[in-house]
Symmetry: C2
């Protein structure tokens, strides 16, 4: 199996063809030639895509990830960068934990209104002061959510 076409790369990696084209345009991956119009990729592109997925999951932007590859295309990953990201992740985790505990408490709290629950108000103050901080949740990509059927919006506990 020397060189796979874009459809196969998409199938094997789980990344959409449009995304592969987009990544190529961004310089994150490179196609190796064409068969007709079709891009051909070296199978090694799959490793590369895994690396990109990893980077994304770790919270790196595509631009940051692009910088992790030497001009020759080999990964050039700075250990200090990893350590820094790990630390950043740790801070995030701490905040999310605080948030989580607070939410759990608020959900279980017997006070008639949340505004009367001391824990809730403490959370409120923390959020207002920015101590809990920023976060943005990403909507799930349309693709592999066939499982839940017709439900377009999230099915949260009613």
């Amino acid at each position: 199996m020397r060189d796979i076409d874009i459809a196969e790369a998409a199938r094997l990696s789980g990344v959409r063809a449009s995304t592969l084209r987009f990544y190529e345009e961004k310089g994150l991956i490179a196609s190796h030639g064409r068969r007709g119009l079709r891009r051909l990729f070296d199978p090694a592109v799959l490793d590369r895509l895994a690396l990109i997925a990893l980077g994304r999951a770790a919270g790196f932007s595509l631009d940051e990830i692009a910088r992790m590859f030497a001009p020759d295309g080999r990964p050039r990953i700075d250990r200090r960068m990893l350590a820094a990201k790990a630390e950043e992740l740790e801070r995030t985790i701490r905040k999310l934990n605080a948030m989580h505990d607070g939410l759990r408490h608020a959900a279980a709290c017997p006070a008639p209104s949340h505004m009367e629950c001391p824990t809730f108000r403490r959370l409120l103050r923390a959020a207002a002061s920015g101590a809990i901080g920023e976060r943005k949740t990403r909507r799930p990509p349309r693709k592999s959510f066939a499982a839940t059927g017709r439900e377009q919006g999230r099915a949260r506990g009613s």
Copy 2:
């Protein structure tokens, strides 16, 4: 202190005036009148803004937050929703922890190239398979975000 103007609301809440206008347009807050052109807010808007900040920090979208207020403007927060969000948060935290541990290891790993580090490759597979999952980090807005001073969360796991 009866009614504060937008500048004061911005100052007291740490939320920009443009954001306050945006929130008003979205129906998240309401101004109570005008002095000249200037919006006047009830000081209670500050609680409301804290609530909004809290919701955002917990990962709710503005639209979701908007739905947390009854038509009369009083918060109507569904406890099951909070519990669901807490659970979601917990899953996220678990993933981030895995990521964090992997990054730490990779950062410290003595293998000459990351591709030769078993831990790193395990991470890679996890990311490629989607087991680690999606996340999007937000760039901090220009403003300060000073005091992350008093921490109230223990970092569990790690």
